[in-house]
Amino acid sequence: MTANQEFRLPGGGSVNRSRPLTFTFEGRNYTGFEGDTLASALMANGVRLVGRSFKYHRPRGIIGAGVEESNALVQLGTGEHSIPNVRATEIPLFDGLVASAVNCWPNVKFDIGAVNNLASRFLSAGFYYKTFMWPDWHLFEGFIRKAAGLGKMPNLPDPDRYETRFAHCDVLVIGGGAAGIAAALAAGQSGARVMLVEQDSELGGALNYDIVSIDGKRSDAWVSGSKEALKALPEAQILTSTAAVGYFDHNSIALVERRTWNPTELSKPGAFACRLWQVRAKKVILATGALERPIAFGGNDRPGVMLASAARAYIGRYAVAPGRVGALFTNNDEAYRTALMLTSAGVEVAAVVDSRVGRNPLAERLEASGVAVHSGAVVCDTRGGASLKGIQVREASGATRWIACDLLAVSGGYNPTVHLFCQSGGKVAYDDAAACFRPGPANQSLVCAGALNGYSDVTKALAEGHDAGIRSALDAGYVSKAAAPATLPSLAQRPIEALWSVSGGKNKAFVDFQNDVSVGDIELAQRESFISVEHLKRYTTLGMAADQGKTSNVNALAIMSSLTGKTIEETGTTRYRFPFTPVPLGAFRGAARGERFRPLRRMPAHDRHVAFNAEFEEFGGWLRPAYYPRPGETPHMAEQREALQVRNSAGVFEGSPLGKIEVKGPDAGKFLDLIYANTMSTLKVGRCRYGLMLGENGVIIDDGVTARLADDHFLVGTTGGGADRIAAWLEEWLQCEWLHLNVIVAPVTTSWGVLTLSGPAAREVLRAAGTSFSIEPDDFPHMTFKSGQVAGIDARVYRVSFTGDVSYEINVPAGRTGELWDALFEAGAPFGIAPVGIDAWMVLRTEKGFLHVGVDTDGTTNPLDVGWGHVMRKNCDFVGKRSLMRPNDAAPDRLQLVGLRAADEKSALPIGAHIAGGTGSIGFVTSSSFSPTLGRGVALGMLVGGSKRLGEQVTIQTDGGARLATVVESAAFDPAGDRLNA
């Protein structure tokens, strides 16, 4: 099988030749080795065409060897495991890997969409916006969106597991190349807690293929030795295949660790795909290195053109020849390594094209081995179909000639990977001599080391990394005595001479390969005044998509600066944003999926409801019974039966989520007077009062019943949804505004289970269940409170009612709610007692016209709108009072609460239906039910000037046409309250 790997070099590299792996790309089977990436394995098999470009569907090949790759995006896996747009350079090869090219149909070699390439002169920047404006962009949008996009989203739920983790460390080193390893070793040996993070699957960076001597060892051996040394340190941790994607405030860094792409591995118990780390570091050492950048020239996107450093990585690390006949196009000395490496790997080097004039020692060394070096020359065009066949070289003299080759290694210099530095708030400065943006002053507690600082000198990187490690450990309180790595001084280099683009080629010269943005598009943007880099980006889509312009941004702004005559520094960069590299959404959710994403709370008597066949629904985060269907019953039938049960006998409703807040202290009454729109300090001990709470803008935020337990002790009731919110609200007022009030607030909502017994037989049932206090009407009238025992359980009992019939809200310790439930059902058996769900509960309160805050009210409703004008007579201040004094708060044309009685009474009005006025809506239905007691619909609504419109006829617009209704008092059932007070 290995015979198929025709581009595999006979020796060298760190792939494991004894572990062949089979994989499938575009439906064909291939073999690679353990230690390969998908990209290196494809290259070993001579597969050069790996994708089609975004807009023109041009053939594209591998240009990089890591995170910078902009062309080799693949659809990895099939079915539910399928992942779109993964860089082939970052997928470690595994047995059975299946991948295909993106953005092509029916396949990468014969792609229908390539017709766009023929029409490319019409598809320039801004083409869509200019062409599809008339009559309306939306007519075209659907079609265009279908044609756009790269990979395919799987339409099945992601079966993979993800994790999240928090970590703290003294020194976080980001980047595991020369500088990063030296830094981690130096800091780690001090005993400080050190984390070393590397996005590649292996530490070492360029040390793995640009071999130098460190501490007397080959650099790749030094890397493995350092890894072992770090592993031996108890406080040091190495994370490989882990990308630092975000640098946030106060040295908070987000990492994404990729465990595996392999579905077989993922199906094992406990396996997970990604882990999101949130790390807080005392000191950060950024050793993020630099990414080589291409040069824009005609046909520079043809498969076979790649970055010079990537060519070295394929030869040195993966033992793969990136071509048979190579050429080099450079503006710097660093790239000469590629020519030397190609030669030593047995690949013929047809030409070295150096844009700089003059001789240099490296060129002479190459010429001595028979390589033609063209000084002061440029590559201006390429030829070949889906694979490079030749390059057009323009000599310093201006003469052009074609040179045959199937590989062109290109280097336009290096861009320091300043992304995280910029995210941290640091500013970059353009260095003319080094032709790159380098980190300037830092804004957080961090140090930059190595190639990030704008040079490519391994000796300097090791020394700088070492120094950064020592200093950072010291800042974190640790002293390191580690010795610096020993290296030979680097040879002096000829300086780089900036070269961003070459004109004169017939083919398009691409700047952004992934988004198909050419030099011509930048020129067009400049002509059309999209000059600012941020405008340029949005007009041409340059630097968008999965690679976020890692190889294109700096080239583009340099080209723009040459067009506008501004300096590169003045032109500036676009903003570097989180994340540095794409992150699967699953990594953000971690294990928070389904109910773990939003846990639902179960009430203390949950299992009793289950036993009664409750149909549960979510209300404010609680699972609550909506109704308890009996055999043959529809939901509506169950609701109506349960409502009648309360009216005719007695029912039990669990109200445990109702908010319960203890308010205690000498100033408790004074405090509640400020909090409630009505007065609480005059409440007698043992009595209850209904109250409204307002925000400072006068809007109703909650309501409930408060009981006075003692002179200095109140028990405040809130709505279920307001339990946490109101407790926090009270604390905020006490701690931030009224610090002089001597009051404590304790939320006790979940300490107590609440069962509400309601109906004309409620008193009989409670009596049968047994109480330690008298419940006769004179002893325990409506709106009073008792502490004692019910059925032998310690209880707090309110006699209040949300149904309009006699009700006891019995609070017992939450753990004994089920016991109370059983006692009530036993005592109520002779009365045919039954459980009542929320649906029936809402029918009962709508019959009574009781307000439901958040249902009948919204973010504009004030107490005057619901008939609470009396609060304005209160002679002390309260939250929201001043707002109610604004003229608009008492305006006669506000929406006010009314009852609505439909002319056709046999069906309930639809909730949300609008009340029609002369020119539009004058209100809407907020609550509506069919009342089984009255045999007709009952409804509440908000109506403009409603309080003055009693008896008026209004028209209500419904899906089934207009319906007439009369404005009535809100209480439809027992308006005098005889049953309530019975």
Partner: protein
């Protein structure tokens, strides 16, 4: 993600806190003597400084205590943490911001 030094619990992650907006806003009272303008300013008028901003925060998923914090809106540096009821400290201007 800020690292906030809760006066009661020590340095904790921003996740545990909630910001309550600008601090040192005096509630005007009694209601009957407050003009519409003064009340409107109290309800809606907020500073938007480039530089030091006094805010109140609560350690919601911790001790539950409110406290004041002086934070640079430019660098997000926390310049001071102090208790409710204490005056805004006069601290130096942080780097990168205007007075």
């Amino acid at each position: 993600m800020l690292l906030i030094n809760c006066p009661w619990c020590g340095p904790r992650d921003e996740h545990e806190f909630r910001c309550g907006g600008q601090s040192h806003i005096q509630r005007p009272e009694p209601a009957e003597q407050i003009s519409d303008e003064t009340w409107g300013d109290y309800l809606y008028g907020r500073e938007n400084p480039r530089g030091a901003h006094a805010e109140r925060w609560v350690h919601q998923f911790g001790c539950g205590r409110w406290f004041n914090m002086l934070r640079s809106t430019v660098t997000h540096e926390i310049l001071a943490v102090y208790e409710m009821g204490q005056p805004k400290p006069g601290v130096g201007i942080a780097k990168g911001e205007k007075a």
